[in-house]
């Protein structure tokens, strides 16, 4: 059918000092269509979304809604025009109730009718099957529920265009399913949905069309059914992707060391984060991983190893010697590094420069009174910027002005500089473009071949299979299985995760 166009962008340009973020970008959204917006990090997806929602002002180009040109100068303009957005990060107020979050800023009347609002909210939450009470304080809901409340809000606003900006990053599989159901439901009602995500599978599961951006330019618009996955990736990267198949697991290394004593060994480890006591070990040059659904306790496990949460019990041995890890510094001094899951909250120190961020861990280990000299710091920074191909204007640029992938590389550089024997990487590839993902995977294998041990966590099982030679499977905050060798395949992992019982998120 020849659908009615609800949103059309033409020749959109946006420039930041020194960067042309968007150049002559076009985009077309039709009624009742789910349209994926794809591109590497820094391709301009977020900028385009922000232009569309009035967060940024475009420098050039036109926006047409149902054929009529519109000016979007503020988020309110966008809302009034029927463009609603749900962001990856929750943009609700945690101190207000669920119902308020759904209705605030929308009513014309200057008074709040609590009774009516709560009733409407209850109805809506019920119809969308969202497990939250209208009068519950939003901050007391799990992140996933908060996300769904945000979607419920957008849904209720009779929007013509719904933008979902990486909504699935913090949802587990069941919640993603629910979201997809919701999206298809909305599609039937004639809402045009722009879906931004890094998960390729999800794109093919729900989307009709795919628009690809690269380096701030429009690459092309395709029918999802007619664009094979590999081709999509190559369009995003702008090159053929033989690299994908190049990846060879260093099976040799791990086999060789199989008999060796563990570098790190823990038994009965338990922390305040509420995971069941678990045993764990890793050998020299081994890459292993924790897998499981979101909230299954994989991050909590590695945090316990690193001493990031308060350790309640269990014994820990490094190279066979019993040690105490009470706080991160203890772990660091033993040669353990930890790259945290939430880069923004736990990883970067935003206002500090790239250089300072790189030397931070090493400096802390040396102590406050033994400063790294300026010359050394500059040398280290240059070395790692080059080694990891970090794209930054200079080592003195604040890290917060880098793109997500490059920030992650800086954090990696920080821990590599600390020269760990055992490196824990918790979701190092989250929210990062495909190219950088591959680089990081390769780097992990290289580190292992140098004799370092690595624990790798990722939400993407493909990725885990690429790098890990042994997987610990977690469910409901318990370690429920360990897979290695021929057991390492998607089906077996799924089986173990599902493990007979019904899996659900433990909010």
């Amino acid at each position: 059918m020849q659908e009615e166009v609800v949103l059309r962008l033409e020749g959109i340009c946006k420039e930041f000092p020194g960067v042309k973020a968007l150049q002559d970008v076009e985009f077309t959204l039709r009624k009742g269509e789910i349209h994926a917006l794809m591109g590497e990090n820094g391709a301009g997806k977020s900028t385009l979304i922000k232009v569309l929602t009035g967060v940024y002002q475009k420098d050039g180009g036109n926006i047409f809604l149902s054929g009529k040109p519109v000016a979007i100068r503020s988020t309110q303009d966008a809302q009034n025009a029927g463009i609603s957005t749900v962001y990856q990060e929750i943009t609700l107020c945690p101190n207000l109730s669920v119902a308020e979050n759904m209705f605030i800023g929308r009513t014309k009347s200057i008074f709040t009718n609590w009774k009516k609002m709560n009733e409407e909210a209850k109805k809506l939450l019920g119809s969308l099957d969202i497990p939250a009470k209208p009068n519950q304080q939003l901050g007391s809901c799990s992140i996933a529920v908060q996300q769904m409340v945000a979607i419920a809000r957008a849904v209720d606003m009779d929007c013509k265009v719904l933008i979902l900006d990486e909504p699935t990053s913090s949802l587990d599989e069941q919640e993603v399913e629910k979201l997809f159901k919701l999206m298809l439901d909305l599609k039937k009602r004639g809402v045009g949905i722009i879906f931004v995500t890094h998960f390729l599978d999800q794109v093919y599961a729900v989307c009709d069309k795919i628009t690809v951006l690269r380096d701030g330019r429009f690459e092309g618009e395709y029918d999802a059914a007619e664009l094979p996955k590999v081709e999509l990736v190559s369009k995003m990267l702008g090159k053929d992707l033989n690299a994908l198949s190049d990846m060879e697991k260093p099976a040799a290394v791990s086999d060789e060391e199989n008999g060796g004593a563990p570098v790190f060994e823990a038994s009965g480890l338990e922390s305040t984060a509420g995971i069941a006591p678990f045993d764990f070990n890793i050998r020299k040059g081994e890459v292993n991983g924790f897998t499981g659904l979101l909230g299954s306790g994989r991050s909590e496990s590695v945090r316990a190893i690193y001493g990031a949460d308060k350790v309640l019990g269990g014994t820990v041995k490094m190279d066979g010697r019993e040690v105490k890890i009470k706080k991160p510094l203890d772990a660091m001094k033993l040669g353990i590094s930890y790259l945290p899951e939430d880069r923004k909250r736990d990883g970067i120190v935003g206002d500090l420069s790239v250089k300072e961020n790189i030397i931070l861990a090493l400096q802390v280990m040396k102590g406050m009174f033994h400063p790294i000299s300026r010359a050394d710091a500059a040398k280290f920074a240059d070395e790692y910027i080059k080694l990891l191909e970090i794209k930054t204007a200079s080592p003195d640029t604040p890290i917060k002005s880098l793109s997500g992938g490059n920030q992650q590389k800086v954090i990696l550089a920080r821990w590599l500089l600390a020269n760990p024997v055992y490196l824990i990487l918790d979701e190092p590839t989250r929210g990062i473009d495909v190219g950088t993902k591959l680089e990081i995977q390769k780097l992990v294998l290289k580190l292992a071949s140098e004799g370092r041990s690595v624990t790798f966590i990722s939400s993407e099982i493909d990725e885990m299979l690429n790098v890990c030679s042994r997987l610990i499977v977690m469910r409901d905050r318990k370690a429920v299985g360990e897979l290695s060798g021929s057991d390492l395949n998607q089906n077996k992992i799924m089986e173990t995760i599902a493990g007979g019982e019904k899996v659900h998120e433990n909010a």
Partner: protein, 345 residues
């Protein structure tokens, strides 16, 4: 989220705000019982309680304004000196410039609104830190007070004196003095004003779009913006309201003391902040309750009364006790909240 009745009655959790409000009221009752037990039944007389209200009507109004801006995540430390400026300006207007009470009230409101406008604009639209802006506002008011008139003087204006000595009898609350004569209990006009302010502000915060906007921007101003709230305007209105309330509070203070002096209401901003905190308003924004603030003021002044009744008449001792009280309160709040957070996690 105090007044939300649970639709299905299943949730037994009390929210942080509710908890803090409960603590505040409990502490006030405890204080008052202590006062009764240790200082004799004088504290049982309703008039003693009404006197606390009479003394603190202005502080209640100032604290309401303070709570308002604290809920939005800001602070306004100019209110104390603003009170002094209002007193002095009104006093000069009445006695030296031949003005009447009405023009004085207009002056008070005008000064408050002017401060609110400027401070609100600088904070909301130019995004300058509230602390620094209102610090400058405080300095400005302080200096202006002495520029208006450098010395203290009592106002002689008859119309004003009549208003000042107006007592509103509270029926049924009187008591008999030593001679056996019935002495009716009374409150001053300021108390009525303060109660109206408390009620009005409670309603605004609870049932209006603007009021909920204050909470929203205090909770997360970026989110509030995304939710379609005009953050700048809301913030601006919070400071404007706070300024106007400081004007009203200033006049009520003036009505109570009946004089102009550069040293009037010195430290009132700190008392207002302390009352708000004791009342459960968090400086980090997003939570607070006007009733809590009201009880915060009462708790604070009950402590002061106890201290001075104990014969430790030195202002020094009052200060030390109040400080110890704030300290205790903050630590208790901090511990309770962190326990709660841990329990949730």
């Amino acid at each position: 989220m105090k007044l939300i009745k649970n639709a299905d009655g299943t949730s037994k959790k009390i929210s942080d705000q509710n908890l803090l409000l409960t603590i505040t009221i409990a502490v006030f009752l405890l204080m008052y019982i202590c006062a009764v037990v240790f200082l004799g039944s004088g504290f049982l007389k309703p008039q003693t309680f009404f006197n606390i209200l009479n003394e603190n009507a202005a502080l209640i109004i100032l604290s309401c304004g303070m709570s308002l801006v604290m809920i939005t995540g800001g602070i306004d430390i100019s209110v104390g000196m603003l009170t002094a400026l209002v007193c002095m300006s009104c006093a000069v207007n009445l006695d030296y410039n031949g003005g009447n009470v009405l023009t004085s009230i207009l002056i008070a409101l005008g000064i408050g609104a002017a401060f609110g406008l400027v401070q609100g604009y600088l904070i909301a639209y130019l995004e300058i830190q509230p602390f620094i802006v209102t610090l400058a506002g405080m300095f400005f008011a302080k200096g202006m007070t002495t520029i208006v008139n450098a010395t203290q003087f009592n106002v002689a204006n008859e119309e004003f004196q009549a208003l000042k000595s107006t007592r509103i009898t509270v029926p049924g609350m009187g008591s008999y003095n030593k001679l056996g004569n019935y002495v009716p209990a009374y409150v001053e006009i300021g108390v009525i004003v303060a109660l109206i302010v408390v009620a009005a502000l409670f309603a605004v915060l609870r049932w209006t779009k603007l009021g909920r906007g204050f909470y929203a921007i205090g909770g997360n101003s970026q989110s509030a913006n995304m939710l379609g709230i005009n953050v700048k305007r809301t913030k601006f209105l919070a400071y404007l309201l706070c300024g106007i309330l400081a004007g009203i509070g200033g006049f009520v203070y003036f009505l109570h003391v009946g004089s102009g002096s550069p040293s009037h209401a010195s430290g009132a901003e700190m008392n207002a902040i302390a009352s708000s905190i004791i009342g459960g308003t968090m400086l980090s924004g997003g939570s607070g309750n006007i009733f809590g603030t009201f009880f915060g003021v009462l708790s604070l002044s009950t402590i002061k009364n106890i201290v001075s009744s104990l014969g430790l008449d030195d202002a020094w001792w009052t200060n030390i006790t109040v400080a110890a009280m704030i300290c205790l309160f903050l630590v208790v709040q901090s511990v309770v909240l962190s326990r709660k957070n841990k329990a949730k996690a």
